[in-house]
Symmetry: C2
Subunit: 158 residues, 2 copies
């Protein structure tokens, strides 16, 4: 997919979608790094978002993200080490260890929301709000809902 050969129009579309995603996420994380979150990676955003305000367990997190509980557990370990998540014992079940977002994690999520809104506005300023909305509508129409919970193995590594 290195070129967008006009003779092969199929190659262009996935590349452009990936380019769009990366453009947004790269800008987001560059600004996040400036605002005190240099260690936050794209993957971490998905995880923090999936933990949710009430906390969850590593197993449940794995199910939500479509990865094994072990993989989820290791990612939680890293985010705990970085100070974005914390583990607490579940008083009602000695097996479970609740994973909760720390204040730092909430700050990262809050800043991400603000920055992504701003990035969307930047696109709207270039393309027009109705074109961005149309793109979102069209993508919703051709993609399965909750796509990232599908466990398609081998996505990146594994």
């Amino acid at each position: 997919m290195a070129t967008t050969d006009p003779a092969r129009p199929g190659f262009a579309l996935p590349l452009l979608l990936l380019a769009g995603f990366r453009a947004l996420v790269d800008d987001l994380h560059a600004e996040l790094a400036r605002q005190g979150h240099p260690d936050l990676r794209p993957v971490h955003g998905f995880v923090l978002q999936a933990v949710g305000p009430d906390g969850t367990t590593a197993s449940e997190l794995g199910q939500r993200l479509g990865v094994s509980k072990q993989a989820a557990g290791k990612t939680v370990d890293r985010l705990v080490a970085l100070g974005y998540l914390e583990r607490v014992d579940d008083p009602t079940d000695a097996r479970r260890k609740l994973v909760r977002t720390t204040e730092k994690g909430v700050d990262g999520l809050r800043r991400s929301a603000v920055l992504l809104d701003a990035l969307r506005q930047r696109w709207a300023a270039t393309l027009g709000e109705e074109r961005v909305a149309a793109m979102e509508d069209d993508l919703r129409a051709v993609t399965p809902p909750n796509f990232f919970r599908l466990d398609v193995p081998g996505w990146f590594g594994g």
Copy 2:
């Protein structure tokens, strides 16, 4: 980014772009697996495409893909083991080892082109050709050209 909370519109756009990319690439590789290429991964498509018809070296490949020459070399190793690439000595320079696409690699690329065209047509059947074209135009307008050659560290692993 686990939810598309209407109160946070910024979260939706990157998620939808990624969902679109994944929808296309997942379908592509599912069909590629059925057509005799079960070991081909999304990453491999980029590499095969970047090698090009005339072959190249690991260092140059790394530059094109925005990764180190060592990383490029290791990925070439795996694709050689799978039979998609081959290394030949450069007769004009004993340091260089040319990386070339094998017949199997060309077959994978050819099938990918056909399948991606079909996938694009499927989108056009749902959305209308002009909407797909508009999406491509809009994405071209907001993404930097040759985005994947930018070396942004830490994208997935590293």
